[in-house]
Amino acid sequence: MQTPLSRRTALKASGITVALPLLESMSIAVDGTQHPPPKRMVCICNTLGLHAPSLFPTTTGSNYESTEYLDILQRHRKEFTLFAGLSHPDQVGKDPHDTEMTFLTSARNPGLGGFRNTISIDQFAAEKIGNVTRYPSVSLSSNRKKSQSFTRNGVMIPADDMPSQVYTKLFLRGSQKEIRQQRQRLADGHSILDSVIEQIRSIERTTPSTDKRQLEQYFDSIRVAETELNNSEVWLDRPKPSVQTVTPENIADPSDLVGRVRSLLNLIPLILQTDSSRVISVVIQSDHGTPNIDGVSDGHHPLSHHGRDPERIAQLKIIEMEILTCLSDFLDGLKQPSENGSDLLEQTSVLFGSNLGNANAHDPRNLPIILAGGKHKHGRFIQHNKKDNVPLCNLFVSLLQSMGIEADRFGSSTGTIDM
């Protein structure tokens, strides 16, 4: 097992000793040299797709003719690229919505017998660049704890679905007593885990070698957990960033789809700007019931099965346009000054898309994929073969590389992509 560098070591090695996370201090080392600004990543998945005829232009390239949906993003035209003809191969699974599990991983045949998920792109990136921030990654969900972030073992990292809890975790300073208790708790955690490791060793002595897989996994997992606990211990000493906003309120009513999405997305500029984390994933779930939007009288999920009924499509479009408006406003929110005077959006690659290309038929091909920010060459509509799709993972590889992460392959990639 590979032990990642502890944050303390990493920080010592890089010569940063000042209190984090002051953004300026991150980019200017003690010797006064400027470091390039950090790269960040936000992956947003709208799990019920986007109505393709309203989204995809008929003309490609940088002079593409805008569409109903793209009109909403008009003011960001130079800041994003739209892709068509991308998908993950072999996504026929147990349940047609199981592709939600694989949107960021590309594991094949989700949910079928013997299926095991693989690492998601956000966690892959977090492994590489997450060790310098308080939280290696943040996973958010608009309803319930299901996320699209999966560890190397294919284990889901539960999402946060309450903005107030995220805010408290990230920005609110505990009292001295709370911090002391937390530190004590971590120390107790260490001695407990050490004792558990001793117990595993003693069991292993009497267990036949072929029956150790699970025990060994427990052993390895404890080692990783200890490292992670060490890391959070380092951060206990550092004050949390102070932000000049009030704790957001949780929206209890799941049918307020737009309100919930908006309040989650509003957190992201704060998280990035304070460098609390550089990797964020967001899931817009399919189980909000009937969204309380004017003109919408059925559930988002049922409407996505519109059966080509124009009235139902019209209602679906109302919901999707609201979601795209949230995206557009979110991109505005990222256009704030950041390290080196550049804006946050330029450092942040925003991947917005869906695991379904056509939710009416549960078709996991021809996914709607928008890449925004991150100083990529934008303003284009790039259409790949609609029948014979290019692996979405090729885009993932290019994205990782653009963030300075060494990766030749990811998931089902076969190469890289022009972006």
Binding site: V92, K146, T151, N153, I192, I200, A361
Partner: protein, 815 residues
């Protein structure tokens, strides 16, 4: 010959090596000739690299090369044996050739399987699933809160959460177990002041309610009013009726008795008065009690577990709008509204229901420790008679054997108790120090893992491993004192003792956890909230109905088990379990009150057997629509245990079109015309067609409901409902099975399905074995499955007997 190329891919080497060292030559090349002959004459023309099938026999390794190749050959064996392959329109081999190939293949596969078994045992050690961990902490610590939520969800690949090979482990789990154990101890150690035992939630006189009595509709008021000392409500909302805001908080976690006196207000028929719990921090809510009430005042009570961050509220369901169609919002003031409501006279809360204080759970965690109130009376503190260390040692000695499910050595106790020493030295106090070894016990591998300890030089499990397996099977919880005592005495493995214990475990109320977890996973009842039907199309679907739906299936299954009824009942029974609400939903007369009870069914009823359960209709629906494919797949996979192949990669899915011109059925006709689709869909679609008579919420329908262009209006009937649909095209429930049998509806289909009773028994038995042992049914287990089937055939494979046979089978008794 190119037929079997030995492609030893890298990660298969270990496996092959293992086999090779144990069996120098399992198969003489000659033996396999019969199989090769069949392949060459009957299979290869379709299954080679050039044809578009899943299988390329030219590239397939021999079964002993890799687990994947082995699985593939098992599949080939099954399909030839069931005569699904080769298809009738192609070359059909002679019975002789077929038989020769099958028996060779069977011998070969069994041998490979048994060899691998010899080395690895049938099932590896496994950890407790997140549900089992919750049940375990509940049992060990006497608590009741939600614990599973601290752990990541289990793998959802369709198997039970206990299947060892599907279980995951990661640092997320480790931190989750740690958090869960800490939260559980927080709940177990209760040292707050003794709470006031009996309190009233006085809605009518609460200051908070006053505000809602006065507020106008547009500011959230107007849905309640006060009539003398009664509260009249027309909606049962959480924001105004929540207990915490109305002055009643749960200071400590525990079981509380809630007694409500109320009646229906200006009812036309009975209405439902219910209790709901909500937790805004955890983001969870549940309906935990519901009663039918009429104009006559009724006093009812229930006991439920609450945590301090929970609140509850009295709610109302099945309320009809006013006769003039008005709803409360446009009929103000509320006292003038003529629709149905609920009158609440008194709400009493007693609890926490404890006989001592601090509660028993805290006392039994620390045997020998006395407790006294602190000077300011705000909490209790321990009065120790021995050294703190000695008391901690006693606490460890008391819980460790229960958690580890076996006697614990002195050294183990010392090692664990010693974890408290640094903290004791640092003067952190008795409780803080005691928590360290206690937490270590709760996440110890001895607690978390079900290891398959074997008797010396035998393949049988030790009595203690057997006790754990048995209690986690039928209770989903650790063994109790009696099981542990029998294991300590070495008597549990005696057949008569074991059989007595099975009956004892089945009779205990903890068996409900088995019923719950098993049906939740086998019939996917845990998916009931995966989609929600549109409220205008299906206004009858609410929490009260949802609860009754789930109760029907669980009580039904529980009854089959208790009464040892033949397995045929699972698909065709002349009874089911209903309360007034569900009976009305099924249009069955003469069932009154909220209690579920056994009800006989007419021969003409579409109900009977689980296929007629509304819960099954609901979990197999997609929101407001149903598809025969999903339901057919459910019957094949979950009822018959013969899951169809996944659709071939890169075929176009059919895009639903509900504009009214084509029905789902017409679209599925494509399945029959395209050969590649037809091969599987001739199996999948017919059972789905038979189920099409049940709408997404399980009503038996003649017509589809169409919501297009519909304004909501009042629908007269037993209960006046506000609906937003019209009746559309007629539902066609007829079809032809793959065997060519014609059916008109679910009743006909059920009769046809009864011919597969043995297969249904085989599947039920297999599911029980998998759930009980945590290991899938493998090729060499099949003989044992068939043996049990023969032994129970004359009695019609009764369910309780199947459970007994599973427990006494070597599959259960061995690793």
């Amino acid at each position: 010959m190119r037929l079997f190329r030995y492609l030893l891919r890298k990660y298969f080497v270990a496996w092959a090596y293992l086999l090779a060292t144990n069996m120098p030559c399992v198969h003489a090349e000659n033996d396999f000739h019969a199989v090769e002959n069949l392949v060459q004459t009957a299979c290869i023309s379709c299954h080679d690299a050039e044809t578009e099938t899943h299988l390329n026999l030219n590239a397939l390794d021999k079964p002993d090369v890799s687990p994947e190749a082995f699985q593939q050959w098992v599949l080939i064996f099954d399909r030839i044996q069931r005569r699904e392959m080769p298809p009738p329109d192609s070359f059909v081999p002679s019975d002789e050739a077929r038989h020769a190939a099958l028996s060779t293949l069977k011998k070969e596969l069994s041998q490979i399987n048994k060899q691998a078994r010899k080395q690895n045992g049938r099932v590896p050690s496994r950890r407790l699933s997140r549900r089992e961990y919750e049940h375990t902490l509940h049992d060990l610590l006497g608590i009741g809160g939600e614990i599973a939520k601290y752990l990541p969800p289990e793998d959802e690949s369709g198997a039970f959460d206990v299947v060892a090979t599907n279980q995951e482990m990661s640092s997320v789990h480790v931190k989750g177990f740690l958090k869960a154990a800490e939260a559980a101890l927080d709940e177990a150690i209760e040292l707050g002041p003794k709470p006031n035992m009996k309190r009233e939630l006085d809605y009518a006189n609460s200051r908070y309610m006053q505000m809602w009595f006065e507020r106008p509709v547009r500011r959230g008021g107007g849905t309640v009013f006060r009539d003398n000392d009664d509260l009249i409500m027309f909606r049962g909302e959480n924001y105004n009726l929540r207990s915490d805001a109305n002055g009643l908080r749960f200071s400590t976690p525990g079981r509380y008795r809630i007694t409500v006196t109320g009646s229906a207000y200006q009812p036309r028929s009975s209405v439902t008065m219910s209790l709901k719990r909500q937790n805004d921090i955890q983001g969870s809510s549940e309906l935990f009690a519901a009663w039918d009430v009429t104009e006559k005042m009724r006093t009812v009570s229930t006991i439920h577990y609450f945590r301090p961050d929970d609140y509850f509220y009295v709610s109302a369901d099945e309320l009809e709008p006013a006769p003039d169609g008005k709803v409360i919002y446009n009929s103000q003031p509320a006292s003038e509204f003529r629709g149905e409501g609920v009158r609440v006279r008194e709400v009493l809360v007693e609890g926490p229901l404890e006989t001592t204080w601090p509660p028993r759970r805290t006392r039994s965690l620390f045997p020998g420790v006395e407790w006294e109130p602190t000077v300011n009376k705000r909490s209790y503190r321990p009065v120790t008679t021995k050294s703190h260390y000695q008391h901690i040692r006693d606490a460890v000695a008391a819980i460790a054997p229960r958690a580890f499910r076996r006697p614990v050595t002195k050294k183990e106790i010392t090692d664990l108790a010693n974890l408290a020493i640094p903290s004791l030295k640092a003067q952190r106090g008795f409780l803080a120090s005691a928590r360290i070894p206690l937490t270590a016990i709760l996440i110890s591998p001895h607690t978390l893992f079900l290891t398959n300890d074997l008797q010396k030089n035998k393949s049988k499990l030790t009595d203690h491993a057997l006790a754990s397996r048995l209690s986690y099977f039928l209770w989903r919880s650790p063994p109790d004192e009696e099981l542990l005592r029998l294991a300590n005495e070495g008597r549990l493995s005696e057949p008569s003792t074991l059989s007595t214990q099975v009956d004892r475990l089945l009779a205990d109320k903890k068996n409900q956890l088995f019923i719950h977890d098993f049906t939740d996973q086998w019939f996917e009842l845990d998916q009931i909230d995966a989609t929600t039907p549109d409220i205008k199309l299906y206004p009858e679907y609410d929490d009260v109905l949802r609860r009754a739906m789930l109760a029907e299936t669980r009580e039904f299954f529980s009854y089959l088990l208790k009464e040892n009824l033949p397995i045929r009942n699972l698909i065709d029974s002349d009874f089911t379990f209903l309360n007034r609400r569900l009976a009305e939903h099924y249009d069955i007369k003469g069932v009154f009150g909220e209690t579920m009870r056994k009800v006989s069914l007419d021969a003409s009823s579409p109900r009977g057997g689980i296929l007629g359960h509304a819960s099954i209709a609901k979990v197999t629906a997609n929101g407001s629509v149903t598809t025969p494919v999903k339901r057919g797949n459910f019957i094949l996979t979950h009822v018959l245990g013969l899951p169809p192949n996944p659709p071939p990669p890169d075929i176009a899915t059919i895009e639903p079109d509900t504009r009214g011109t084509t029905t789902i059925r017409q679209m599925l006709l494509k399945h029959q015309s395209v050969e590649t689709c037809a091969r599987c869909h001739q199996h999948i679609d017919p059972p789905g067609f038979a189920m099409e008579g049940f709408d997404p919420v399980g009503t038996y329908r003649q017509h589809y409901r169409i919501g297009k262009n519909m304004k909501q209006s009042l629908q007269p009937g037993l209960r006046v409902k506000r609906v937003g649909y019209n009746l559309g095209p007629r539902v066609n429930t007829s079809g032809v099975t793959v065997e060519g049998d014609v059916f008109r509806n679910i009743r006909d289909y059920r009769n046809l399905l009864c011919e597969s009773t043995k297969q249904i028994a085989r599947n039920t038995l297999s599911q029980l074995i998998i759930f009980a042992t945590g290991g899938d049914i493998e090729f060499s287990d099949r003989d044992e499955v068939e043996r049990i089937l023969s032994a129970t055939q004359s009695d019609g494979y009764p369910l309780r007997s199947l459970v007994h046979h599973v427990v006494t089978s070597p599959l259960f008794r061995n690793q």
